[in-house]
Amino acid sequence: MNKITMTALSIGIIGVGNPLRKDDGIGIVLLHHMKNAAKLNPDSLSFIDGGTGGMNVLHVCNKFDVIVFLDAVDFKANPGETRFFSIDNIKSNKQVSSVSTHHEDLFQIIRIGQKIGECPNKVFVFGVQPADIGFGEGLTEQINGKIEDIILSMKKYILKVIEEYNN
């Protein structure tokens, strides 16, 4: 007997940031951690190094039904604190009306993409409050000291996304 299954939605995990600007590179660091978490990764999950964003992000966005950006986000919290929110939340909730630290137009580009059908409606951001985004390789000690907690937090949220959209 044929088993009836729902088609899983494709999920894109996109790390954004500049590893040459200290904590700004957290999105890329997290992307690699997530990529290596094999048991979390169904086939419909893709991992993209989005670099420093810009209009090129649109060229990968249209390949997915759901997107999670991993990014350094300045939401005026303590370094290492994390937030998980949808793009829609930024519109409605002033408390998280923050912008990406390196590309303040990233979210604007995503919204434009949504408006012209080049980006899915389900876009989430896992953001980490950076300590320092000045020039320099590697994360600051403040962020490195909390990296395990940050990774655990990220995995928890991404698992929720997988459960909701990929099963």
């Binding site: 670099g51 810009g54 209009m55 090129n56 649109l58 060229h59 604007q108 434009i112 408006k115 012209i116 059908g117 080049e118």
Partner: protein, 437 residues
């Protein structure tokens, strides 16, 4: 604006290649007192830090000079290294490199026309308001940009800063199936090109009708529309060997710029798509020639704003030529397991010249017997254009003085933008300060 009023315009941080540029204008009673194109960007020392590095690192290091022309910098670098060490490449490598260069040309040109110039054609400040007013056109531009990006990624291993281009050949070669798929997409995109070109044509009156006679310099060849290879051509002085490039570019310094300026037969010269068109238009592919006719673009055209149109024409040429190149690659029996040419590391000097989206680019390296770089010189297109931008401004500004400050500023910004200095320029161009004296 009354001509009796003093006008002072200061456009600060009008960024260009990898930094900033300013426009300063002062006029009194309709008389231009000063107009200056200033480049305050700090030097980047690429030519210094490639010294003492081994030959196989140079193309990767110098590709970082630019985030848009990284393929072109890699290729110029490889050509210089290969010339220095007598490394010969296969026909397949040359075809694939030409394909890579077309990919970059398409990427860069559509980005410039679609994201940076289009807002001027629609009289808006940036590409963002166009989403509402010209949604379908923006979608088409994005689809062309995406195709060019993915083409570059297929051939070069990465959209930007290629990794498969190595001395003597390629470290990885796309499959026949992948090339067929790319070719199909290129064929399909021709219709999109026609639609985008029509939109530009419908708004062509927004480009100022300004001309100033100047010299145009670029690669030229009797075999093809020269991009990957050729000799140096000048609309003033004819052809010159690449080895003579130093006597062509004649770099010099000026007080208002940290970037070097250039001049050859006249007080300045221009490089880029319009220069290439003026030198080589008879060798464009048929669809590109047809498009040039639609815009009444004929050589020698002295309107720098038509560089935008020459880019559009070149985009179509690159698409059409890429379709043909893939045919040749497949018909010749694609060898996906072909290794880079073998060679012996030796001392010597080599020059690589190539056409990148913004014009002719030179890399010149000297290596010791261990293949370590001991001297490097890179002459990039935007630097060759600075002097021409300055001379254009000096000729164009007096024609603008009866206009409002906003219009003067916009026209001067559009002039710089027509030279396509760099992607990061666009938004900063709008950071304008006025000071009424």
């Amino acid at each position: 604006m009354s001509s009796s009023k003093e006008v002072s315009i200061n456009v600060e941080h009008l960024t260009r290649v990898e930094g900033h540029g300013n426009i300063v204008l002062n006029a009194n009673s309709g008389v231009l007192k000063k107009v200056e194109w200033q480049v305050p960007e700090a030097p980047r020392f690429f030519e210094s830090f490639v010294r003492n590095r081994p030959y196989n690192e140079l193309s990767h290091l110098t590709s970082r000079i630019c985030g848009i022309c990284s393929i072109g910098h890699s290729l110029a670098s490889l050509k210089a290294t290969e010339n220095a060490m007598d490394i010969h490449i296969s026909e397949q490598t040359e075809l694939l490199r030409k394909l890579a260069l077309h990919g970059e040309n398409m990427q860069s040109h559509i980005l410039h026309i679609g994201y940076l110039v289009a807002p001027d054609l629609f009289s808006v400040g940036s590409v963002f308001p166009l989403i509402s007013s010209a949604k379908e056109t923006v979608k088409k531009i994005i689809s062309l940009h995406r195709l060019a990006n993915e083409m570059s990624e297929l051939i070069c291993g990465r959209t930007t800063h290629p990794i498969t281009l190595v001395p003597g050949g390629f470290s990885d070669i796309p499959s026949e199936k992948q090339l067929f798929q790319l070719q199909k997409r290129l064929i399909n995109c021709m219709e999109t090109c026609t639609v985008v070109a029509q939109v530009v044509l419908d708004n062509i009156d927004k480009l100022p009708n300004f001309t100033r006679e100047t010299e145009f310099i670029g690669l030229t060849s009797t075999d093809e529309y020269a991009l990957y290879d050729g000799i140096i051509g000048s609309t003033d002085t004819g052809n010159h060997p690449v080895d003579d490039y130093i006597t062509i570019v004649n770099e010099f310094i000026v007080p208002q710029s940290t970037a070097k300026y250039c001049k050859h037969n006249r007080e300045s010269y221009m490089v880029g798509a319009l220069a290439r068109f003026n030198l080589n238009s008879d060798l464009l592919n048929p669809s590109a020639k047809d498009l040039a006719k639609k815009f009444d673009l004929q050589p020698i055209n002295y309107n720098p704003f038509m560089n935008n149109i020459a880019q559009l024409v070149e985009f179509v040429h690159s698409v059409e030529d890429s379709i043909e190149l893939i045919d040749v690659l497949i018909d010749s029996g694609l060898k996906t397991d072909e290794k880079p040419s073998t060679f012996v590391i030796k001392e010597g000097r080599g020059i690589g010249a190539i056409e990148v989206p913004r014009g002719i680019l030179f890399h010149d390296y000297t290596y010791n017997k261990k293949g370590i770089c001991t001297k490097a010189n890179c002459v990039i297109p935007t630097n060759q254009n600075h002097n021409n931008i300055q001379k254009d401004m000096e000729a164009f500004a007096p024609e603008l003085l009866e206009k409002s400050k906003e219009e003067i500023t916009l026209n001067l910004e559009m002039l710089v933008r027509a030279y396509d200095p760099c992607i990061s320029c666009s938004t900063h161009y709008l950071d304008v300060q006025f000071v009424d004296e």
